[in-house]
């Protein structure tokens, strides 16, 4: 990936204006004080093909509404709920999460800034740890009395996923550099699991990992701003990786995305995240994301 990254950075440094309203990661900048943002995330998640009993082309579907509020200029909080049909045939509520970010460093210049923030996330999920499937055994290995029979199999995931899959925590720091022609952001965090509600015993899978993100954004249109009504078109490319603590397992995903901003207050993101390298067991190695967002600036009457 490293030469690719370098070429990408070179390319980006040639481009006019950059953006940091990243689609997967959070930048170090916060939502304005007293702004309220509603997001509806819709994820189409093809199930990893090599899982036992998984039919070809099986796809999970997840919906996650999110509310974000700027408490102070430096502190924001985000609450989300998740629902999917990944762990059972029917679509149901599965998880809730709360995320908070505190910006502790801000160096502004005209059309530039460098910012750093610390963040934390807690998620509570009622999902099982495994995805169950039934496979047909022919009994040739002597199981089932040598007769063809159905067997229940359990597929596990070692990915630390707080977007619905698991209960857990995440703590990290993010640094974002916006230059005239370039916006880059890096995030490092620790992420781990708690017991999912209804499932009091944690499986013996990997339970903690280091997560690292690198994101870059580019404003394609307009070339020059002249009104708040102009539709913005932004392009993003992000990398998201995880490496398990104490075990040689990890993955690296890449996520290109396109973003439209309307009237300087609403947003549509369309992104595709896919694994480029990895040996970690995961329920999904691909994800198509469609996000609708609306922002209310000065949402409540406050001083």
């Amino acid at each position: 990936m490293k030469p690719g990254l370098f070429v990408f950075c070179l390319l980006f440094s040639q481009i006019l204006t950059a953006q940091e309203l990243y689609v997967i990661s959070e930048p170090a900048s916060n939502i304005p004080k007293n702004a309220l943002s509603f997001r509806l995330n819709t994820m189409v998640m093809p199930m990893t093909g090599n899982m036992e009993g998984m039919k070809k082309g099986e796809v999970g579907f997840r919906v996650a509404p999110e509310l974000t509020y700027g408490i102070t200029k430096n502190l924001m909080v985000k609450a989300a709920v998740y629902a999917s049909d990944m762990f059972q045939p029917s679509f149901r509520y599965e998880s809730a999460s709360i995320y908070t970010k505190y910006r502790f460093l801000s160096q502004d210049d005209f059309h530039k800034h460098f910012r750093m923030a610390g963040f934390g996330k807690l998620a509570v999920s009622r999902n099982p740890y495994v995805i169950e499937r039934t496979v047909l055994h022919d009994g040739s290995d002597g199981t089932g009395g040598g007769m063809p029979h159905e067997e229940l199999v359990f597929n596990r995931s070692d990915e630390q996923n707080l977007m619905g899959n698991h209960s857990g925590w995440q703590v990290g720091v993010v640094a974002t550099q916006l230059l005239n022609k370039l916006a880059l952001s890096g995030t490092v965090s620790g992420v781990g699991r708690f017991n999912n509600t209804n499932y009091p015993v944690l499986p013996t899978d990997i339970q903690r990992a280091l997560e690292y993100n690198f994101s870059a954004g580019y404003l394609l249109y307009p070339r020059e701003y002249d009104s708040y009504g102009q539709t913005n078109l932004n392009l993003y490319l992000e990398w998201i990786g995880q490496r398990a603590f104490g075990k040689a397992a990890g993955f690296l995903d890449m996520a290109p995305a396109i973003q439209f901003i309307f009237n300087s207050k609403s947003r549509i993101d369309l992104g595709y995240r896919f694994q480029v390298a990895g040996n970690m067991r995961r329920f999904n190695e691909q994800q198509l994301l469609l996000r609708l967002e609306y922002n209310w600036l000065q949402a409540f009457k406050r001083t």
């Binding site: 950059a18 004080k33 702004a35 708040y228 901003i261 300087s264 922002n295």
Partner: protein, 178 residues
């Protein structure tokens, strides 16, 4: 409490003695961000309208007649939107006043500490640029702090060191240049 309230009132600017307030915001490149600043500024009681030049992040602030202006609140509102003021200028109607570098004057109901100016007399509408932290880029604020030995640049408030005998202490002082 009462004294504090009076002090607060005093730190507001008198009416009809200022106009053409213009600020340039720093730290942003997107119209969503400018919109956040615009909305934040519009929530101020003394602001009647905000016109924007998006290309350079310039905000021209129209002031509501009869409502006292508070410059610190402008800086605060830009910061609440997530950004900072990189430059702020306005026109102030001065009483006939002698100014010189690193000296305080009281005019238009406000205390000004002039920096980086030639000794001269001013009267009537005069454009001034603020040099305080919160109204300039932080690198410039550091540079500006070297233009004075007086402590008020750091605190923003008058103290014994300010050198004017009849200057009230603990009052907001704006560091400006022309």
């Amino acid at each position: 409490m009462f004294f504090g309230f009076i002090l607060l009132l005093c730190s507001f600017w008198g009416n009809a003695q200022y106009r053409n307030l213009e600020l340039q915001a720093a730290g942003l490149t997107c119209s969503l961000c400018s919109n956040a600043i615009q909305k934040s500024l519009k929530s101020l009681p003394f602001v009647s309208g905000v016109r924007t030049e998006l290309k350079s992040n310039l905000f021209m602030i129209d002031l509501r007649p009869g409502v006292a202006l508070n410059l610190d609140m402008i800086s605060q509102k830009v910061e609440e939107a997530g950004f900072s003021v990189g430059k702020l200028s306005l026109e102030v109607k001065f009483d006939p006043t002698q100014i010189k570098p690193d000296a305080h004057v009281m005019s238009a109901g406000q205390i000004f500490h002039f920096m980086d100016v030639k000794p001269q007399s001013i009267a009537g509408w005069q454009k001034i640029k603020l040099m305080d932290k919160g109204f300039v880029l932080s690198a410039e604020a550091k540079k500006n702090s070297k233009l004075t030995t007086l402590n008020c640049y750091k605190t923003g408030y008058t103290a014994d060191c300010c050198g004017m005998r009849d200057l009230p202490k603990g009052k907001r002082v704006y560091h400006v240049t022309i």
